[in-house]
């Protein structure tokens, strides 16, 4: 079983990202569950959401304590939350950031999802949309296939800019 913890701020679409990821995994022929952290969600507050992906039905409901991977959609969360908490040895990290970061003992990748969203004009109420382009980044890291990622996005959003942003993130990461 592959367990992912997504860090974001309330309103940035971390829960939707988890859902899209689970949908993409489902299209890959796998089992998946996605869940928000169980509690009152407050806009702007640091939040986490979780995704589990497995080849067989998932029976675990307790929270992910030792994720295989951590996704950070907003680096400002890192000032207040230890995003590496419990991350398995050699675990993978994806950070939405233009600058490369290193964390000893972990494999860390990054791409500027915010920049991509702005370039693609993927902005809603003044906020760049991160939860669709992040699927491109995760596809590039092999968590899901690019095809399933795009299918999941198209099932949820009719605006093709979402797919284009995901493709851009995929390309930049794979370059």
């Amino acid at each position: 079983m592959f367990e992912i913890r997504i860090h974001s701020r309330g309103g940035q679409g971390g829960v939707t990202a988890a859902r899209l990821l689970a949908m993409a995994a489902l299209h890959d022929g796998k089992y998946a569950t996605a869940c928000p952290f169980y509690g009152a969600e407050r806009r702007g507050a640091p939040i986490v959401s979780f995704v589990r992906i497995d080849d067989k039905p998932i029976k675990v409901y307790s929270q992910i304590r030792q994720p295989d991977m951590v996704v950070v959609l907003d680096t400002s969360v890192m000032d207040v939350v230890d995003v590496l908490h419990g991350l398995k040895k050699g675990g993978r990290i994806f950070i939405n950031s233009a600058g490369k970061r290193e964390f000893a003992g972990f494999e860390c990748r990054n791409v500027d999802l915010t920049g991509i969203a702005l370039r693609e004009n993927l902005v809603v109420s003044g906020s760049p949309i991160l939860n669709t382009p992040v699927l491109g980044a995760l596809a590039s890291m092999g968590i899901i296939t690019a095809e399933s990622g795009k299918r999941a996005i198209r099932e949820m959003f009719s605006d093709e800019r979402n797919v284009k942003a995901a493709e851009a993130a995929y390309k930049e990461m794979s370059a």
């Binding site: 988890a18 859902r19 689970a22 949908m23 489902l26 089992y31 998946a32 569950t33 996605a34 869940c35 928000p36 169980y38 998932i58 029976k59 675990v60 409901y61 307790s62 929270q63 304590r65 099932e155």
Partner: protein, 370 residues
Amino acid sequence: MKKIATGNKTVAEAVKQAAPTVVAAYPITPQTEIVEQIAEFVTSGQMPSRYIAVESEHSAMAACIGASITGVRTFTATSSHGLLYMHEMTNWAAGARLPIVMANVNRSLGPGWNIWAEHTDALQERDTGWLQVYVSSVQEAYDATLMAFRIAEHNNVLLPVMVNLDGFLLSHIMQPVDTVELGDFIPAIHLPHAIDPRHPAGYGTLTGPDQQFRFRWDIERSMRDSVKVIEETEKEFARRFGRKYGFTEDYRCEDAEVIVVAMGTLGKEAEVAIDLLRNEGIKAGSMRLRWLRPFPKLNLKGKQVVIIDRDYSFGRGGILATEIMAQTKEEVYSVIAGLGGQEVTYDDIAGFVRTRRMGEEFWFGVNAHV
């Protein structure tokens, strides 16, 4: 069709397919998404139902009763304090022999304000005459809701059915769910005692000591008859849609020396604990209790039984433990865990089994784990 959805959304989807004539409901966390989704289905014309946005849960159940007695299909959803607020009416619904279907999202009771999973809310309803089923996945929430209508409305039952799903753990989690083409799986409702002005009758009129017990016995007789209806319905569901269910879901029980009994998501997570224990050479199995009413005959002979209660009856014990102890002479280790959403992992469950003390009660997080 396979998709990813929350437990709440999936229950609403099942209700949409069952197409009740009247839905009367009141919002409460963590159930609200069910009634919001149904309101949306009704407003957008996807569901040919009337949605009555009542002013309380007491009125929600009263409105379902009023609608149901005219002979139409009805549904409501609630949780926790909402369920307790309608307690008077849940008794009425069963006593009036009305096949109302309700989704209850299991949640703790205050004080303090706690919105997380616990089974005490539904268990306080166990003597009302409602059938109760507890589910452990989003798929099962969908399947059980569909089956609930068929079971409740079966003329050998005509009792209300409550589908229970764990607050947040199931209501808000997103899992794959395979929806079905319902076809005629749920036959048209026919309530033999429906109100008809052409044939005036009194309903629930003054009833003397020489009669009331007969009505009570009628409820119990139907409750007993419901066992067969549940079995038939689950069998027919499996035949049509390929997914099998039973009164319990047994996992590696055949040669087990110790069996973990639990309900809801804990009962499913227990299976992971069983695999861990088996790898250690401990002959363990798990039995997830699905139907609490009617209470099934459990095959626990010769086993040690570890019962996890996400509930409690103060001054007596874990409610599930108490129910099972009344049925079996086998030794029981009663674990109280998961109250108010307390985190319980498969490691914790494996620990309960490893360190079990038969005949004792253990409060997870309170007593020292020996």
